[in-house]
Amino acid sequence: MGWRPALRPYLLIVPALLLTCGILYPFGLGLYYTLFDFSASKPQPDLVRLENYTTVFTQEAFWNSAWVTVLYAVGAAAAETVLGVSVALLLHRSSVVGRVLEKILILPLMIAPVIAAIIWKLMLQPSVGVVNHLLRPFGLGGVQWTDTPTGALLSSIAVDVWVYTPFVAILALAGLRSLPTSPFEAAAVDGAGWWYTFRRLTLPMLWPYVLVAVIFRFMDSLKVFDIIYALTEGGPGDSTVVLQIRAYLEAIRFQRYSFGISYTIVLWAVVYLAAMVLVKHLGKIQRKAAEAK
């Protein structure tokens, strides 16, 4: 009889464990493939050991993609954080306008990113798109949004910002609403100014919440795919070929499976490292915040 209670929780997780293995299996298989030169044109692959990885790291295309990915992730996460926190602060003032608008805050977030990119693609069309039409009175009619390297990257980031700013705003708003009121009352009694209160009270106490949002956004934008695929397909040239797009092109378009997977494994390692560092940092911040409360 003694073994039964100890075994019970294991029985409950067995199905999930099996399903997880079903997902881990292709991952392991992919890792295994990267040691071969498996491609559509070579269905009987040879063992090449780490050659795929050395090729990745010596390719200029990889470093270009890595650079674009970092620019994209940092740019998008930073813009979303600033904009999202600002929107949350404005909504937290809870004017009548704010209460109405809050209800529709999530709208862009619930639209599939690929659909969002399609929407923006239509709007940013240089000759017939509505954005240029609206800008024409200001003498900015002919902007080649997605047809210049910088424009394409900025446009992609803009779509990311459009979709995911509500994500940061929603988490920041939840944080703002859970802050204790007494420090703010004390600060008001002491006659502290708005900026001082914001810098010294709101921001430090809000930071753990915002950081959760930033971590999610940064790690997600490192592996961006949908938005760029639909908006620019990596172009013009190689200007927006982020790592997952590069992997897609190599593995699916050119059918060099092993080589394409090597790209994703490298990206996976980067995301994993970023996650470790950020989560550790988050833990520290949350502990500090807990002590402060």
Binding site: T20, F38, I106, Y209, V212, F216, A247, Y248, Y257, T264
Partner: protein
């Protein structure tokens, strides 16, 4: 002072409205675009003679794109993925919330790492594997791969709900004469029901909105709306009105569901890291 305060209030409201114009205009523009007749597509902006022809074409499966079928496919694979995740994930979430043991912690962190793993790492091998197994372009194949999206979400969030529930309620049920299974079904489950509903809908939305899995692992039979909407952009003449109509039709289900679970979104979106 009051004048200044009122001015600040106005400015804040103006800034908010500005953001919401940015957030809502694209959707409004899609509505406009979708209502345009094909011959006024490039010659007009805001004044045109509106028509539902775009929707008729998209939902009438003309242009050789079976959009209704894509819509049904999205529905089937998303619901299937959520149901499978619930079936498998609820017991796991419960176990890991009630008993901290090594296996469960490992499982939890493996699942969390799925949330942040680049999708292609798994999909490219699956692309090869599915073709061998005959799962390419099938519902089963899609439901399987969508577990990558739905299972971590459901397990992590339900764990946080179960963890909020004091185990003494179930212990009381045990002493009231119920078995462990009955205590779970009659006491724990009803109490997390709102959470289950909310997380199921959220998982459905994420499954529905997924693009990269159907893009690579389906071609026609099991293709979903997110990939389908993109196909209106192809061809010689871009059919913007049809693209807009298809995009709008495909965002309706997630938007409607999202509005019903607003209250639970914070916990869902943050994987249980932030509770409101």
């Amino acid at each position: 002072m009051t004048v200044r305060r009122r001015l600040v209030g106005w400015l804040a409201d103006a800034a908010l409205i500005l953001y919401f114009v940015f957030a809502l205009f694209p959707v409004a523009w899609m509505v406009i675009l979708s209502l345009k007749p094909a011959n006024q597509l490039f010659s007009t902006y805001f004044s045109f003679s509106p028509t539902l022809d775009g929707y008729r074409t998209v939902l009438g499966d003309s242009e050789g794109i079976p959009f209704v079928r894509f819509f049904v496919n999205s529905l089937v694979v998303s619901v299937g993925a959520v149901l499978l995740s619930l079936l498998v994930g609820l017991p796991a979430a419960y176990a890991s919330a009630r008993w901290r043991f090594k296996g469960s912690e490992n499982l939890m962190f493996t699942l969390l790492s799925f949330r942040f793993a680049p999708e292609l790492t798994v999909i490219i091998p699956l692309f090869v594997l599915y073709q061998k197994l005959g799962l390419f372009d099938t519902y089963v194949g899609m439901v399987w791969v969508l577990q990558l999206v739905t299972l971590p979400l459901i397990v992590w969030i339900m764990r946080s709900y179960f963890a909020d529930l004091t185990p003494e309620l179930e212990q009381a049920a045990l002493l009231d004469g119920y078995s462990r299974k009955q205590a779970f079904v009659k006491v724990a489950l009803p109490l997390v029901k709102p959470g289950v509903a909310a997380v199921s809908l959220l998982a459905f939305i994420f499954a529905w909105n997924n693009f990269v899995f159907p893009l690579i692992l389906t071609s026609s039979e099991a293709q979903t709306v997110t990939v389908g909407a993109l196909s209106f952009l192809g061809g010689d003449r871009p059919k913007y009105n049809l693209t807009a109509a298809a995009a709008l039709v495909s965002v309706v289900p997630p938007l409607l569901l999202a509005l019903t679970i607003q209250r639970y979104l914070v916990r869902g979106l943050s994987f249980g890291a932030v509770k409101s």
